[in-house]
Assembly symmetry: C2
Homo-oligomer: 686 residues x 2
């Protein structure tokens, strides 16, 4: 028992000792009188304590600076509350220390980012960059060299590499830049805006859920990986024979200057413009393609709210000012409507007169039977229910006839088939009804004549080469392009290939099942999108072998391929497609560059080099998603889809957070979301 | 010794036990075999262990969930590295838990901020708010009531309170709003912009060191404390007899509508406009008064940089595009020059051609002999040295004659007194040369006629009441006003007061020293700014008692007061002054409201009520500061001043961080500074 009591005393003393030596300095000092009273309990243990302390000091000097290094047990008290307080204080102390070190480190880093003196000194700039020669069919200045070609060693090394010119800094162009191997091409991007815009989040910027600068990334920053060059200018035309792009820019005096930029490979990724659908009065409507559109919308919404507050505004005028009409039920229109209603529900009611919220109306005019009509039906149904709850009126089967300054006129097809002309007062009208070809693409399309038959986009083959241009020179990706999938047109090519192997005439060739399999293989390779429709080859063969001859003749094969053709839809005009096409081109270009030596050795200069080095482009749909007002919908294709409330919103944000273009935009987006939660959206216009 | 060995074993077992029961789950699990081998060391202690464990479970169930609650000592190892790792892991584990709880709490809070359904329902809006009566001298609509007067209980309670109308939402107006007691007045703010702008940081926004939205706060948010009303409109005139402000606003069709807003007390805080100094061609220059100015400057700078990159831009034109000229060496001009050079040194060189940085020139044209001429001379000398290092050319003693689209013409007075006319090419020119009266104040000044003699600002008495208006109705604060300090003009008042007490004629009164002390007391009360010049009353008395008669006569007193007058300078047109004036008015209004009952009882309706309830306004200069390019200068007055490098920049930021208008703007500013450190400024224009 004596041993046990001495043991208890020992334990207490050790606990006090530990508290006085190290942790107490971090948390709270102990009264020495208390310590002494405990020490008196056992003389032996006091001696022991002193020994241990000196031993610890000799072995571990750092022991005194960090609790974590101490080998001593933490003090034990009978009360768990005291224990909790003690341990909590130790944890808070350590955390504050670590936090302090973090803050100090940040300021040390921050201080290192201020530069006083620029690195001056002589700079190599080639004469030809300062005084460009004139040339080309229009005798314009030719930008053979740039003023920053010699700015650093890496750039100098790229001077004699093949010139890759990319027109446009959108999804396609940026995906290409981010995937391209840095050492293979002399890259130039030409675009009228010097930033990349993260378009899927644009509706969020119209009401201030996200700030505009969080959605954009300077092209120059993206270009720095490949040591590329940027020209802020507008592409006007392409001189295919001289391999030069004609670009224009307004100079400081507002006068247009034009010049040529030569290329070895040209990628057209200029995007599209809003489709006016021939409707009158669109000058009274707002668009949502660009960051400036978002700003104008934000200002207009706030302007209307402010006007609605004025004492002289009549009740009728107030209702008109607060009537928001969105024309177009695609993702842009739907997400804008959702964001607008969020703003009105969450922020307007805080500081604006309550009357305003009562008099607001939001209408969405959709030409089809449902909103989000490219999505799965359950998804669009969910969105419609959600909108009904949020008091967004959806007018389906409606076509806008005219937008006037104070009203919109549209015709609606009723359930019984009659068409009724209706009108709505508008304080604000958004026009988001799909895309159309821009002027530059029209110019090229006209120039290429017969090779281009599509009025809406530049036609390319499945290797993304623009039809009608010299093979391997000009590519087109993204909204401005469409991949020609006319399998039937290539039937003769397939058969000629087969006939040549068999030494027969293609027209009279009879295909056995094994021949058909060979043709199908060829089709799959050339048109990857057709793969899904060529899975059951035997079934197709039997189906189209109408005379049950066991062979397919030319006519039967044609029928078969026509059916496949009809099943192949054109690719959607989405960021996803442009992104995949950009990545595809980057991989191909890198491969082309690495194989060019081999090709030269093997004297393969002409012919289908692209096809020789890389597979054809295949689009993989990863799903569509949309924000529908404090809830989000996901359509992952093949019937997989889901929708939900706030958790889906967080999931939706996570997807875009992950897809965002840079670390910078991710941080800014996260900050913006936190800002919205903490302070709400600000309703200021400038 | 046996007791000691048993004790050691006990300690080890206890340590192990502690590790297995709680901490191991937080950090890393221990092998049970190890535990067993330790247990074998002492049979007695094993029994003890079991007892303790069950006891602990019974006493502390929470013991199993948090290491901090455990009374067990942490395990001890001979190696301090192992100890460090173990304790470190425990700390990281706890920290992650706490961080996780924090993140969860934030998301829980964030989730609570999304509102699905607005609170609809019937809203009380008075008929008179929806259909205002007509009245006043111009028979315009009169806003007697607002549509949000009945929005909540607190607003309803204020309906019959005195109407306080504030014109302008700048420093003066906002200081008033932030200091005013919430329950005393029916407050209305009328301003053409619906936000307050933190002007001292505006130069930072021109280059993107700070974002524009971080410098502004919605007026409505500031107004919500006093349950006030906001009208986005422009004050045009005041009908003093009907006590109504005439305001104008463009309606949705761009047509001007005018209406009256009645007041009981009117505060004019409309600020000033940039002083053109009669110089020609200012349409070619940029100003920096408003947030839109900052945006235009930012876009212009980037536009010039982009144009300078074009291959067709000649060398001469590039030099012109990159020639930045700032006219005006006050704080705004100096800080803009500093921020511009920061941008060029820190961010331009990262992604733009190096040639650009070499061809940039920055000039600052100052009419006086030094920049920052209102600061202490050592401070302005420091700033000049700093600018010389940063290659900012300062042209002192220079007056701009004309700004043309591509050059600026100015005359410079050389050291030998000759005046030389010079010119500089300009790609960008900032005009920041002081302030002038705006149109509204000119209208009022003309209307008030003889009472207003200052051409630059509205004259007020020391109680900030506009001279010539009915006493206690109309106040003016900030840049648009000036406090009349003409002590001499009040000499008769002082003497009449004294003579009335003594029953003598003021004109023939001879002042003894005691009388003079009384007069001086009166002067101090009425002109607090004069206090500093009335410290040695005896000395002054002897000095001006020229005939050594021991008394001052009328003429001698007049001389004395004239000398004091000459020493009183007019107050500076700064945010600091406006802020103090706003606070002063708020305190006075609160006091007036609380004393109104007493005044009514005592039948004090007329007379100098303001002077009866509150002291006259006294300006206290707290110092001036300025950013001069990775360093900052502080002039604290009375010869106290300092300047320094980065630490001063952080101090400068701290001052403005503390002065910032709201928690929101503080957080945003901090985020922006961190952004600059992490990602630099983005050079994108939209």
């Amino acid at each position: 028992m004596s041993s046990a009591s001495s043991l208890t005393a020992m334990r207490l003393v050790r606990a006090r000792h530990s508290a006085t030596t190290t942790a107490s300095r971090l948390a709270r000092p102990r009264c020495p009188a208390q310590l002494r009273s405990f020490s008196k309990l056992s003389g032996a243990s006091t001696t022991k304590r002193t020994q241990t302390t000196t031993g610890a000091i000799r072995r571990l000097p750092s022991h005194f600076f960090l609790r974590a290094l101490s080998g001593k047990p933490l003090p034990q008290r009978s009360s768990w509350i005291l224990n909790f307080c003690y341990r909590g204080a130790a944890w808070v102390g350590t955390s504050l220390t670590v936090f302090g070190i973090g803050v100090f480190a940040f300021f040390a880093f921050d201080a290192s980012t201020y530069k006083d003196h620029p690195i001056h000194g002589d700079i190599d700039v080639s004469k030809i960059a300062l005084n460009p020669r004139r040339g080309g069919s229009k005798n314009l200045p030719v930008a053979d060299a740039f003023i920053d070609d010699d700015d650093c060693e890496e750039k100098r090394a790229l001077k004699d590499k093949p010139r890759l010119v990319i027109l446009g800094g959108g999804w396609g162009g940026v995906a290409l830049l981010k995937e391209l191997n840095p050492d293979d091409y002399h890259v130039t991007v030409i675009s009228p805006t010097n930033y990349f815009l993260f378009t899927p989040m644009l509706p969020s910027a119209t009401v201030g859920t996200l700030e505009m600068r969080s959605l954009v990334e300077p092209i120059r920053r993206i270009l720095s990986r490949v040591k590329g060059h940027f020209i802020r200018a507008k592409a006007e035309d392409v001189d295919f024979s001289h391999k030069m792009v004609e670009v224009s820019q307004l100079d400081a005096q507002g006068k247009e200057t034009r010049f040529y930029v030569p290329y070895d490979k040209l990628v057209i990724a200029v995007g599209s413009v809003t489709n006016p659908h021939g409707v009158k009065g669109l000058e009274n409507a707002f668009f949502l393609k660009d960051i400036n559109d978002a700003r104008m919308i934000r200002n207009k919404v706030i302007q209307n709210l402010e006007l609605a507050c004025l004492p002289t505004t009549t009740d009728e005028e107030r209702k008109r000012l607060l009537s928001f009409v969105i024309s177009g039920g695609g993702p842009t229109g739907v997400e804008f409507a959702a964001e607008l209603v969020d703003l009105l529900n969450e922020d307007l009611t805080r500081h604006f007169p309550r009357l305003l919220r009562n008099e607001i109306s939001v209408h969405l005019i959709q030409s089809r039977g449902h909103i989000l009509n490219t999505y799965d039906e359950t998804v669009s149904k969910y969105a419609e229910d959600r909108f009904a709850r949020d008091q967004i009126q959806i007018m389906t089967n409606s076509r806008v006839k005219e937008v006037q300054s104070d009203k919109i006129i549209f015709s609606q097809k009723m359930a019984d088939g009659t068409v009724v002309t209706k009108e709505l007062p508008i304080g604000f009208c958004l026009w988001s009804t799909g895309v159309a070809q821009n002027g530059f693409c029209k110019t090229l399309s006209d120039k290429l004549g017969r090779s281009q038959t599509n009025r809406h986009a530049l036609e390319t083959d499945t290797h993304l080469r623009v039809n009608g241009t010299p093979l391997g020179d000009v590519y087109a990706i993204g909204d401005c392009s469409t991949v020609q999938n006319n399998v039937t047109d290539h039937i003769v090519t397939f058969l000629r290939h087969l006939a040549w192997k068999k030494g027969k005439d293609p027209e009279t060739l009879q295909l056995h099942f094994s021949d058909w399999r060979e043709v199908a293989q060829d089709v799959k390779k050339r048109f990857p999108q057709a793969v899904n429709h060529l899975k059951r080859l035997d079934k197709l063969f039997n189906e189209f072998d109408k005379d049950q001859s066991g062979t397919l003749d030319f006519g039967e094969l044609r029928e078969l391929l026509l059916q496949i053709d009809s099943k192949l839809t054109s690719l959607p005009a989405t960021a996803q497609r442009a992104h995949q096409q950009g990545q595809y081109l980057a991989r191909k270009f890198t491969r082309l560059s690495h194989m060019s030596e081999g090709l030269r050795v093997n004297e393969i200069n002409d012919g289908d080099v692209d096809a020789a080095v890389h597979r054809a482009f295949e689009y993989r749909h990863l799903g569509s998603l949309a924000y529908v007002g404090n809830s989000a919908v996901f359509d992952l294709g093949n019937g997989w889809n889901f929708a939900g409330g706030l958790w889906a919103v967080y999931a939706w944000r996570s997807v875009y957070f992950a897809q965002s273009v840079s670390f910078r935009t991710r941080i800014l987006m996260a900050m913006d979301w936190a800002k919205r939660g903490l302070f709400g959206r600000d309703l200021m216009s400038f």
